[in-house]
Symmetry: D2
Subunit: 365 residues, 4 copies
Amino acid sequence: MAFSFPAFKAPDFGKPPLCYAPRVRTEKAPDRGVAPANYHATSNFPEYLHLGKGEWVLVPESRMDCVLVLRGGRPAATEFRRLRKGDPVVMGRTENGEEGIFVHTDGFESAPDKFTDKFSFRARGTRETPFSRSYDALYDLMRFDRDRGYIVWVLGPAVAFDKDSRDAMQGLIENGYCHALLAGNALATHDLEAARFRTGLGQDIYTQAPRRMGHYHHLDILNAVRSHGSIRRTLRELRLRDGIMAACERKKIPYVLAGSIRDDGPLPEVIPDVYAAQDAMRAHARKATTVIAMATQLHSIAFGNMVPSYRVEKGGAVRPVYFYVVDISEFSVDKLANRGSSQATAVVTNVQDFVVNLWKHLVEE
Amino acid sequence: MAFSFPAFKAPDFGKPPLCYAPRVRTEKAPDRGVAPANYHATSNFPEYLHLGKGEWVLVPESRMDCVLVLRGGRPAATEFRRLRKGDPVVMGRTENGEEGIFVHTDGFESAPDKFTDKFSFRARGTRETPFSRSYDALYDLMRFDRDRGYIVWVLGPAVAFDKDSRDAMQGLIENGYCHALLAGNALATHDLEAARFRTGLGQDIYTQAPRRMGHYHHLDILNAVRSHGSIRRTLRELRLRDGIMAACERKKIPYVLAGSIRDDGPLPEVIPDVYAAQDAMRAHARKATTVIAMATQLHSIAFGNMVPSYRVEKGGAVRPVYFYVVDISEFSVDKLANRGSSQATAVVTNVQDFVVNLWKHLVEE
Amino acid sequence: MAFSFPAFKAPDFGKPPLCYAPRVRTEKAPDRGVAPANYHATSNFPEYLHLGKGEWVLVPESRMDCVLVLRGGRPAATEFRRLRKGDPVVMGRTENGEEGIFVHTDGFESAPDKFTDKFSFRARGTRETPFSRSYDALYDLMRFDRDRGYIVWVLGPAVAFDKDSRDAMQGLIENGYCHALLAGNALATHDLEAARFRTGLGQDIYTQAPRRMGHYHHLDILNAVRSHGSIRRTLRELRLRDGIMAACERKKIPYVLAGSIRDDGPLPEVIPDVYAAQDAMRAHARKATTVIAMATQLHSIAFGNMVPSYRVEKGGAVRPVYFYVVDISEFSVDKLANRGSSQATAVVTNVQDFVVNLWKHLVEE
Amino acid sequence: MAFSFPAFKAPDFGKPPLCYAPRVRTEKAPDRGVAPANYHATSNFPEYLHLGKGEWVLVPESRMDCVLVLRGGRPAATEFRRLRKGDPVVMGRTENGEEGIFVHTDGFESAPDKFTDKFSFRARGTRETPFSRSYDALYDLMRFDRDRGYIVWVLGPAVAFDKDSRDAMQGLIENGYCHALLAGNALATHDLEAARFRTGLGQDIYTQAPRRMGHYHHLDILNAVRSHGSIRRTLRELRLRDGIMAACERKKIPYVLAGSIRDDGPLPEVIPDVYAAQDAMRAHARKATTVIAMATQLHSIAFGNMVPSYRVEKGGAVRPVYFYVVDISEFSVDKLANRGSSQATAVVTNVQDFVVNLWKHLVEE
C-alpha cells in the first residue's frame, strides 16, 4: 500500500486578520533562566511568527511549554532553564496574529467524516475503542519511517519482563524499526537481567516461576556492569547476546537512559542529572517522526511534552509527527492528553501484546 | 507437541485420619429451596464423601456454593433454590473427614519449583506478569480440547466492537474452537449491529468514525430481529453472513444469552429470568473442560462460580478444568479470585489483542 | 445557603424554523414489541413534539432509547418491549423540527465561563479532577431534595463491606436522604450478612480479618431469609437492627432488588425477571430528582439509561435531574457517558469515603 | 485511647542453629561503587549480623537492596554507588545464620486471628477491602507520632489540584502532623500556582472551570520563583500565604524536591541529580517512623525502597515503621509490594478524600 501523509496547508497570510498583523516583538531575558513577564509560551501546534513585511516563519523543532528566542533572526523553542541573560524572547499571549504570533491548529487536512448529532454514544476513547485500524495505520507508518523517518521508542521496564515481547522488541530493533531508544535504568537493568538469568526481578520471564534468591539477580547484573564499566563491555565479557540492549549495541542504535529516584545501581550509562537527560532526549525529539511510548507514564509524558505535532523537513515540507502511547490504563493515556499532548494516538492494551503484534506484522511475516 | 494434563492423585483413604472417618450424614431439606442448618456447602475443589465402609465417592459435576444432595445414593451439587422439600442434604462443615467429607485441594500434581525465600519480588499477578507461557499453554490446550474437550467462551460485548477481534472470534468458532457461547443481549446485539451496519453503538468498528444517526443502529437491529422473530431468521432475511452470531448459527454452536437490567430490546433469544439463565449456563458448566471468559465481570464471575476445578471423565479419570479470565483490569481478575474461583489463569490485557492472537496461532498459521 | 436550580428556557416555537414545523406523524406498531421502521428514538434530553397548530408538548417522564407513543394525544416514552400492536408510534429521525420533533439540548442555563483557548490542559475528568465543589453542590442538593425531591440510591455491594460506610448509609436513610434504593441480591445479602455476622463474604467489616468458615456466612444468611420467607421477617426473628436493609424496612423506604446471573440464593425479594425489574426501577426513574449511583457498573448504566436529564414538575416547571456516579474507575464513569448518559456528574473515588463524607456533612454535623 | 506498638522479640541466639552460626565474613570492595561477588544484599526486614562470640548486632537505619559495610565494627546499609574501594562488605546469601546473617521476618507480634480454611474469599486487598480500621489505626498512630515520632509525607501533585485537600494538607502541616515532605517539582509548582492563581494547570481548584490562558499559570509561577531565586522569597514578595509550601516554610518543615525528566522550570530548590536526591530522601528515611505516600508511584516506590520495616530507637528498643500507601489504583499498591515493600498498608481511594479525612479527624474535631 502506498503510504501518504495528510497534506499540510499553511495559513493564508495575505488575508485579514493576518495581513494586518504587527511584527513579533521581543524583550531581553532579564536573567539566566528567567523570561521577561508576558513571554510567549509554545504549544505543540505549528506556530508562525511574523518577522515583518509579511514574512512569517514556522518555528522549527518546536516543543510545548518553551519560550521562543530569536537567535540570528530565526526562532528557536528554548526551555526556560536554557535562557541566557539578554536572549531576545518573543512576547505575547495571543494566537491569531494580534502580536505577530499565529497558532495553526488545523494545518493538516482531517478526515471528511466529521458531523455532530445532538445525541450519540462513545465519544471517549477507552479499552472498548476498536484498534484494528490504529494497528494497520501504524504498520504502514512504521514501514515508511523505517527508511525515511526517525522512529523513537520510549520504553518502560514491562517490555523486558516477558520473553515474547522482549524477543519482539529485539527483532524490531534488529530490523531497522528503531532509530533511538529512550528509557530508564530499570528497562536496561531488567533486560540485562533477562539476558544473564532469564528473569525479571527474579521471576522467570517465560514460566513466571520465581527463582531461588532471584531478588539478587538485578543487583548482581548491576554490580557486574558497574564492575565492567559499561553495558557494551559487559555484553562482551559475559557473552550476552539476546535482548534489547544487546540489539541496540549491535546495531549502534543510540539510547538515552535517564536517571530517576527509584534507581538501584545505577548502570554507568544512566544520566544522573535529569535536565541533562532532558537535553539528551530533546536531541531525539528534534528528529522524531514517529514515537511509540509504552508502559511508562513518566517517560511518555516527559517525551510527549518535548515532541511537536509536526516536523519541518529539509526543503521545507511539513509533515505530522506521530505519537503512539500504549498503556493498559485509560488514566495514563488521558494524563498525556491532560498535559497538553493531545495529538497522541492511544492504544489501550498490554504492551506485551502490542509489541509482539508489531513484530509479527513487520518482521515475521 | 504432545499435550498432557497434570496427573490427578486421589487421597489415600486407607490412612488416618481418613480411614477413621464416619459416614457422611444427611438431613432432610425442611422446605422448598431451604437447606437444614449446618448443611455442607461446596467449594470448587474436588470433594469426596464417605458413603460408608470405606467407600468414598468424588462429587461429579460439582460447583461451589451449593449443597450436596444424595439422590439414589449418589451426590449431586445442587443450588439452594433447586432444593425440594425432603431432599437428603449432606451435613457438616469440616474438610478433613471429621464428618465424612474430604476437600482435596492438592489432587493435581504441581510444578516442582516451589520454594520460599524470606524476601522476594513480584508475588502478585499484574499487567507486568509475563504472559508468553500462558499463551503457549493455551494454544496447546485449545488444540487438544477442540477435539477431545468442551470449550466454553464467555464474552462481553467489547469483542464485537472491533473488526479484527470480531473476525477472529468468528474464525475460531468456524474452526471448531468453541463448543458453547455464553453472553448477554449486548454481545449478540452489537455483533448483529456490526453485521448490518459495520458499527458498534454507532461507531465504525474499523475506522472508529462515528456514523450519522449511528445511535439508532443497535435499536434498529433489535427491532429487526424482534420483527423477524429470531436471530436465525434475521440472518437469513437480511443476508447477514459475518460475525459471531452468524458463525454460531452456521456451525450450530449452542449459545445462552442471559438477560440483564441493562438490556435494550431484548433479542427474542435472551432469557429474561436470570435463574433460568443460570440453569442454562450450568448445563454447559457440567461439560466444560476449558473456559475462556473475556471482558465481562458479570458473566465471568457468574460462570466462574459454576465451574469446578476438575472434571470426572467417562471411565472415572479426573482432569483439570481450565479457566482463563482475560480482562484489562487487575481488579476484575482479583475479583474472580476474591469470589472463590482461585484456579483461574489470568491474562491482563485488552481482549481485542487476545482473541486475535488466538486466531492467528490456531487458525491462520 | 439558598439553593436554586439553573433556570429552564423553553425553545421559541414562534420563530423559524420551528414555527414552520409540520405536525408530528405516527404509524401503528406492526406487532407486539415491534416498532414501525423509521420510528423516532428518544435521547435523554428534553424533546418536544408538535401536535399541530403550534402546540408543542414536552415529553414527560422520558428516558433514552425508547419510542414515543401518542396515547390519548399525549406522548409517552415506551420501551420497545412494551409496545402493543397498533400503538401510534412517533416517526422521524430529525431533531430540529423537520418532522415535528425538537431535541432541546441547551434548555438549562449554563455557566458563563465557557471559552476556548487553542491549547489547554485537563480537558478530561479523572481522579485528578478537583471534587471539592462537586461535594459542596451535592450537600446543598441533598438538603433540598430531602424534603422537596426524590432521591434514589443505586448501590453496589461494596458499601456493605465496610463498617463505616455501611453505618453512614444507614444514617442517611434514617435521616430522610433516601426515597428509594435500587440494588441487587448481593448488596442486600452482604448487608444482612454484616448485620448477622459482622462480615462481608467472611471478612470482618471492621478489622479485615477473615473469619473461620466465613465463606458460609452469606450462604447461611441467604438460607435463613429463605427459610423465614422475607427480609422483614428475618430482621425481626433474628433481631437484626443495624444496616441498610434494616433502615429501609424501618423507614418504609421502597427498594428494588434486581436479579442477576451471579446471584446465590436468592433472597425472596429479588426479582428474577430482569425486564420486570426494569419496570420496577423505571417506576422510580419517573419520580427521581437526584440519583446517586455507587460502585456498580451494571446498575448505574441500567438506571442511567432510564433517567432523563429533566423532570416536569406539577404545574409544568422543568428542573434538572441530577445524576451522580461514584466509582473508583475512570472507565466506569466514561462508560456511562459512552452509553449516552452524558449529563452525569462523576466523582472518581472509593465509595467508602464518599458515603462517609455525605453522612458527616448531612447528618453528623 | 492508649496507643501501643506490637512488641518486638529478638531471636534467641542461644539456641541452634543460631548458637552455632559462624562469624560474619567481609571482603573488600574491589572498586569504587562495586561490591565483591557474593555480597549480601539487605531486605527490608530486621537483619542481625554475628560479630563473633555470640555478639549479634541488629543493622540500624537499614534499607533494602543495599550492601552492609562494617565500618568501625558496626554495620551500615550502604547503596552500591556509595561504596568506596576497600570497604569491608558483608558476604553471604543465606538467611538463617549459616554465614552469620539472620533475617528476622517475624519479630513483631502479630494478630492472633490467623488460620487457614481450605477455601475462602477475599484474600487480596482491593477497593472493596474495608478501610474503617485502617483509618482509625492511622488516626491513633498520627497522634502518637506527632509528638514522639517522625512523620514523612510523600506527595504527588494531585493533592494540590483540589481546594479542600490542599487546605487539609496545609492544616496537617500547621498542626504538627508532618516532619518532612518529599515530592517533586510538580507538587510544589502546582501548589504555588494555586496560591497565586487558584488553579492547577489552569483549572480552578474549586469550580473545575478552565481559566482563559490558564496554561500559562504554571509557567508564570515557575518563572516568578526562578526570578526571585527561591520559594521562600517568592512567597514573601508575592504575599502568598496559603498552601502546602507556604505551610512548610512557615513551620520550617524540611522538604526534598527531587528532579524528574517531566519537570518544567524547574524551581530552584529542585535537586537535579537523582542520586543526590536519593541521599537527601534517605536522610529522612533514617528517621521515619510513619510514612504516608500518596498518589505518586515514582516517589512512593523510591521511598518505599529506602524505608525499613523497623526502627531502632535510642536505648535500643525496636518499633515498627508504618508505611501507608494511598492510591486509587490497585496496580500502584501491588507494584509497591511487588518491588519488595510488602509491609505497606494500602488504602485504595482518591487522595483528595483521604487527606481531608485525616484533617477532619486530627485537626478539625
